[in-house]
């Protein structure tokens, strides 16, 4: 039994070593990292597979779910993405506009200002639920990755183009409009009573 085991150990080890030797000679070639969509994806079978990151990168398909991007011009500030987010990484503050604020690229009328649209990518779990609920498809996941920063706060991306002063101005405008409306209503009510 022992002799048999020893012989078997010797032969199987030799087999394994020959196999690794075969692969050892294949390392003269370098295997390129090809996009999985490419028809030649499985044509190169041998060679070094190590990718010298960051000099070269594994190609990422377009559907890749990495960095979130918001096209704020298309956003109607409906808050649906913030509601579906499982980790609450999207923070939105809206101000009602004094009237229709123009249209998005697909023709939806915007009625709210986005005073704040912050996405904390440090919290994001890259599930992609927010991109599905968005009615105007303005929030998308891009295949960009590797956005390392030195400060944690830099991972909070601010997509709103409004400065705080502008937001304050819009708020005042809204307050003024509402006050005017209120005054008009009261005046109308008084006029009714007067009759």
């Amino acid at each position: 039994m022992n002799i048999k085991n020893t012989i078997s150990a010797f032969t199987t080890a030799c087999k394994g070593l020959l196999l690794t030797l075969k692969h050892f000679f294949a390392i003269a070639k370098k295997r390129k990292s090809i996009d999985v969509k490419d028809d030649n994806y499985f044509s190169q079978q041998e060679g070094v597979v190590t990718v010298q990151y960051p000099k070269e990168k594994i190609p990422v398909p377009e559907v890749g779910r990495y960095q979130l991007h918001v096209e704020i011009d298309d956003c109607i500030v409906c808050d649906l993405c913030a509601k579906i987010c499982p980790v609450d990484c999207i923070e939105i503050e809206s101000i009602k506009g004094t009237g229709p604020l123009g249209q998005t690229s697909d023709g939806t009328v915007k009625r709210l200002h986005a005073a704040k649209f912050d996405i904390d990518m440090a919290k994001c779990l890259y599930c992609g639920l927010c991109t599905v609920v968005c009615p105007t498809e303005c929030i998308t996941m891009t295949n960009q990755y590797d956005r390392s920063v030195t400060q944690l706060s830099e991972l909070t991306y601010k997509f709103s183009e409004m400065t705080p002063e502008e937001a304050e101005q819009k708020r005042q405008e809204l307050a003024k409009q509402q006050a005017d409306k209120q005054a008009a209503k009261e005046a109308a009510a008084k006029a009714k009573e007067g009759k």
Binding site: T11, G16, T20, V36, P61, C127, G128, M141
Partner: protein, 399 residues
């Protein structure tokens, strides 16, 4: 040393074991940062020289409150969290979760066949990936470095393909209640076929290098023998249980999803190199399961390319329910994950979109229990072989 008197009640049996250790015995901490514990598992060993007297596993270092999260989020929002339980087999986790919710809603019969087949296809791809990690890291535990790199090289292709399909490499969020995130991309089936052609010879190479290697066999055969009755009484499942000789596969027993229409065998441990239920058997069952998964993928591809072809108007999200409110009930659903019986127990109140309580039965947790039973009186080096052969994923174990 703890100085305790006989009146002091010990909180646990293990505290008593540690406190009453003989002076000739040594208490050895293995982990939580030990590379061969596959994560953050801490084992306390009571050793006498090289002999392990008792193994005490400590878990909870990777606890992420999955069940609490599930009580606070809707069913749809919990899918990414279910993915993160067993991060090596995310598809299988979300498949089980989604099936549970669909059965509660009663829409499981309305799911189109194409969606079912895509689900099975990606699940089996993911199962191969998960088993490749199990085999590769087992090699590294035993002292063979090359198979580990080869397994990771092949798994890389699976991850690339699944990224192409779902958009993410590991945590897919692909299988949704009532449908899928996306349909398969154009050309995926052909690429998958090419992968099978590529993968078959690689598996033969791996078998030649590792499975049939006498050094490997000597390290694993007759080590950590798990008798069938012990396996059943400890609630082991998956390859652990099958290696002990019982043909128990939930894909056949429960016949969920598209599995009843597929032909595949259930590999069981035979004790070819030693005793039934030893570490080599557990390894071999995983190797055979990869082969069966490859067969299943081929059958799925055949159907997906012939009678269940992609049509331009096919919408994988067409059947998504607007609001997921199951009626009031207690519901348990189990499915076969690469590690064994993965179950979700739901308690719903019939009013809200959020479950009242969710319990996840993780196969790794039950499989790990048995370790103190089967590793009494063995050598420390063999303990490493046993832990590797159980194939635990700590993310699932601690949830």
């Amino acid at each position: 040393m703890t100085n305790t008197t006989s009146q002091t009640p010990y909180k646990t049996r293990y505290e008593k074991l540690i406190a009453e250790a003989q002076s000739s015995e040594m208490i050895l901490n293995m982990g939580p940062q030990h590379p061969s514990t596959h994560g953050v598992l801490r084992l306390e060993l009571i050793t006498d020289g090289e002999i392990v007297k008792e193994v005490i596993p400590h878990v909870g270092y990777l606890h992420r409150c999955f069940e609490k999260h599930a009580e606070n989020l809707t069913y749809q929002q919990t899918i990414p969290f279910a993915d993160r339980m067993d991060y090596l087999a995310s598809m299988n986790n979300s498949h089980a979760w989604v099936m549970g919710v669909e059965r509660m809603l009663g829409i499981d019969k309305e799911i189109p066949k194409r969606i079912e087949y895509i689900r099975v296809l990606v699940c089996e791809l993911n199962r191969i990936g998960s088993h490749l990690i199990a085999l590769g890291t087992y090699g590294i535990d035993i002292g063979a470095f090359t198979p580990f790199l080869w397994c990771f090289r092949d798994r890389e292709h699976i991850m690339n393909m699944l990224e192409w399909a779902s958009g993410s490499r590991m945590l897919y969020n692909y299988i949704w209640v009532g449908g899928l995130f996306f349909d398969l991309p154009v050309g995926f089936e052909e690429r998958c076929k090419e992968f099978i052609d590529y993968f078959r010879p690689k598996m033969t190479e791996l078998n030649e290098l590792l499975t049939e290697n006498q050094i490997f066999i000597s390290r694993t055969a007759n080590v950590g023998i798990l008798p069938l009755d012990v396996a059943i009484s400890y609630g082991c499942s998956g390859p652990m249980l099958r290696a002990s000789g019982l043909k128990w596969d939930l894909r056949r027993v429960d016949e969920y999803s598209a599995y009843p229409e597929l032909e595949f065998d259930i590999p069981v441990g035979s004790g070819k190199m030693g005793t039934t239920g030893d570490c080599w058997d557990r390894f071999k069952v995983r190797v055979d399961e990869i082969e069966q998964s490859v067969l299943m993928i081929e059958q799925c591809l055949e159907r997906l390319m012939k009678d269940l072809k992609r049509t331009p108007d096919f919408d994988p999200r067409a059947k998504l329910p607007k609001k997921i409110i199951p009626k009031e009930q207690d519901f348990y659903l189990r499915a076969e994950s690469p590690r064994g019986e993965l179950g979700y127990y739901f308690i719903t109140d019939g009013k809200s979109e959020i479950p009242k309580r969710v319990k996840a039965r993780a196969p790794s947790f039950n499989n790990l229990h048995v370790i103190s039973e089967i590793s009494r009186g063995i050598l420390i080096a063999d303990l490493i072989a046993i832990i590797g052969s159980i194939d635990i994923v700590l993310g699932e174990l601690d949830r």
